[in-house]
């Protein structure tokens, strides 16, 4: 009996820690992510592959910082920003985060609309239906049971790995592109860089991951396990990104289809694996990813905002107890889904631009994280090492420069 209990204990710790990083990494490859990587491959072939190495490093560093902040302080990122920087700064940050996340929610519903369009289901039917489903799922508290279904369905991403290989890409060119950075001072190219960055290291993920770590009760002493899990999640996440780009480059780009207008275009990348079923496969995978992220994003946003501004939050509270929380949560879904119903709205473009918005917001989130994590009074011996600071600061600088360059290009 004792033996059994010890085992149970071990397994409990393992699961307590395996959760947040892994889930975050999977949600990261949402509709916006899939479309952004697809566009990167379709428009620029293999030439953007080099970005994935620095981005993986940045992702791992940033996610680890989030996890560490959560485990050491026991507080969410919004909480910490509020406690250390005051109300006004928190308010501005939360407004920016809400807007960027609204764009992301739109991106997810665009994913829902475009995936089910492949099966001939009108967006006027699919989007409201999914919006209601997501709202109920979370408010009724059944989310946790469905989460496992989403996670299992995420194995869809493996299809891109097989398809990428079966498309017989030019591995030599691909490998060469991995290590040959190329930068063109042209707004489409620079926007794509920001988009890929924002798709991989999304600002809302940092808030979400840190809160999840706190909620799971991962503390200093279990922290080593968390660190490993975050790293594995990051590598899995960018591996998928790599194969999406390769699959799209080897199919769409090589065949001269340099743009993706709808889901059916993007599905062509899966043709080497699935043949005529490529569209169906892509549609199902995209649908799952979109609904998965759509059920996390509005909720995570509402939690962060209420945490930071001091409103009561939680799905276990009644509407009367936490009105701001429920209003915000509901409005994000209603607005996010509602805007997608505008006739003729370019779905793929909406998804892609939401990731670019993430890229613009990311440096500000990183600055706060850096300021917080380097404070000895908060973090004790767990402040950043110089290597971490270097990577994070370089990322901030790179993103700010990219943003300025884009502003410059659009002005002149």
């Amino acid at each position: 009996m004792r033996f059994l209990r010890r085992w149970k204990f071990r397994i409990l710790i393992f699961f307590a820690v395996i959760g947040p990083g892994f889930i975050t990494a999977n949600v990261d490859n949402d509709a916006g992510g899939i479309y952004t990587y697809s566009l990167a491959g379709a428009r620029y072939g293999y030439s953007l592959l080099w970005t994935l190495i620095p981005i993986t490093i940045v992702l791992a560093v940033v996610q680890e910082m989030s996890a560490r902040l959560g485990a050491v302080t026991g507080k969410g990122l919004a909480d910490l920003i509020r406690e250390e920087f005051g109300f006004r700064i928190t308010f501005l940050m939360m407004v920016a985060l809400t807007l960027a996340n609204l764009a992301n929610v739109m991106g997810e519903f665009a994913g829902v609309a475009s995936s089910l369009q492949i099966f001939g289901i009108s967006k006027y039917l699919s989007v409201p239906a999914v919006a209601v489903f997501v709202w109920l799922l979370v408010v009724r508290g059944t989310y946790k049971t469905v989460e496992k279904v989403f996670l299992v369905a995420c194995s869809f991403y493996v299809c891109y790995i097989f398809s990428g290989i079966m498309a017989r890409p030019d591995w030599l060119v691909a490998a060469e592109s991995m290590f040959r950075p190329g930068l063109r001072l042209e707004s489409g190219h620079l926007t794509m860089l920001v988009g890929v960055m924002g798709a991989t290291v999304a600002p809302w993920m940092q808030f979400y991951l840190q809160s999840a770590i706190v909620e799971k009760g991962v503390e200093r002493r279990h922290y080593a396990g968390s660190k490993l899990e975050v790293l594995v999640g990051c590598i899995a996440s960018t591996l998928v990104a790599f194969f999406i780009v390769v699959a799209c480059a080897a199919t769409l780009y090589l065949n001269g289809r340099r743009d993706i207008a709808d889901g059916a275009d993007a599905a062509l990348a899966l043709r080497p694996l699935a043949g005529e079923y490529a569209s169906a496969l892509f549609a199902l995978g995209l649908f799952n990813a979109s609904v998965f992220a759509a059920s996390i994003l509005p909720l995570a946003t509402a939690y962060s905002v209420c945490e930071g501004l001091g409103f009561e939050a939680g799905v276990n509270k009644k509407f009367r107890e936490a009105p701001v929380f429920y209003w915000l949560y509901t409005s994000l879904i209603v607005l996010g889904a509602g805007l997608i119903l505008i006739p003729g709205i370019p779905l793929v473009q909406v998804s892609y631009l939401s990731q670019v918005a993430n890229g613009f917001l990311l440096p500000f989130v990183l600055i706060f994280m850096l300021l917080l994590i380097n404070r000895a009074d908060l973090m004790g011996e767990y402040t950043n090492s110089w290597g971490y600071n270097l990577v994070a600061r370089a990322t901030v600088a790179a993103l700010v420069l990219l943003t300025l360059a884009l502003v410059g290009l659009s002005l002149f």
């Binding site: 009996m1 004792r2 059994l4 209990r5 010890r6 149970k8 204990f9 409990l12 307590a16 302080t73 026991g74 507080k75 509020r82 406690e83 005051g86 109300f87 006004r88 308010f91 706190v214 009760g217 503390e219 002493r221 501004l309 001091g310 009561e312």
Partner: protein, 418 residues
Amino acid sequence: MLYLTEILELPVYDVSGKKIGRVAELAAASAAQPPRVAQFLLKDGKDKPPLSVSLEDVSSVSADRVRLRISGERVHAFQPDDSLLFLRKDLLDQQIIDVNGRKVVRVNDLSFDEKVADSHPELRIHAVDIGLGGAVRRLLSGVVPKPWLRKIETRLKQSAIPWEYVDLLESDPLRRVKLNISHKVLAKMHPADLADIVEELAPKDRHAIFTALDSATAADALSEVDPQMQVSIVESLVDSLDTARAAEIVDEMAPDAAADLLADLSEETISGLLHDMPREEAEELGELLEFAENSAGGLMTTDHIALPAEATVGDARNLLVGLPELPENFNTVFLVDDVGRFLGSVPLARFVVASPQQKLVDLKAEPLMRVSAEAPERDAIELVDKYNLLALPVVNELDRLVGVITVDDIVSLLRKKG
């Protein structure tokens, strides 16, 4: 009424009208209740150490400036003092416990009662602002002219907690003593409410509360906390070399709750805790731990009252009156023979209407209901449901009474499963 955020950043002028800095912080003496502001800390330029002005040297605090009654040369550098409560650093934007509303809230602002005493202003903390009014003041002050701001604020819903219902969180134990924070008010709360509050706090603050509360209250609250968090609270007490404290709390818990908690701890922690507990309780818990978690034995508590079958109602009443403490959710008396074999259950309600001479055996419930300690918990649930029991006796392989499963355990179990 003055607000903290209206005073912060005000320019400070000395008696000759020379500007000597800005208000950077308000320090209050925490010995008095409610705390009285004792000093203004001033900053003049970024890197200089803060100056300190005692409130006795202030002649007035107005909407746009603070005037001193002394000259700038007599203002000295601030001497750190642990017994001072720093209103900006310790309170503003931090979390506190609203004892009346039974929840954790974030401080948007503080309001002061303003009085003139000995021709200098006296500021006492009046209430903690947690509402929209404070939020809008924080957001718009300096952006919108002050009179407008006041007008906007009056239209918003005000929400403030009077200082007497505020419980401060301070994770440093030494400072907690110096600041006179006792968490005594928390002990008056229902354990379930206290548990809800504790679940919302950061681990450090959680730890602080569990070290400060008396062990009976701590035990009651701990039993109501989510099981995973129970483990982390006890582990953090043990880790901070406070095993004795943890053992005290576990000892005060109902044996079944304590056993469930121990089952999730590491072997090393368990033996440490049991070692620090009174021997009898430790042995009892050790026995409970031997039962599989999802068996009737794992569900039961050993805390029960058993009497010889030949006793009368009068005997039983005398015995109960003499007990220092009744078991939790006590509703049934059990009958046993001289070797402890189970003979029957007498619901407490039957005592009320019986005469003192009546034999307990004649009052026992029929049919005789019991469950084996090794039986799966499912069996216990079925029996309780089918026969509408409030308490189900648990026996060992020799049919000796070893414990009882009460209906509240069944309710928690079903909720956890469903």
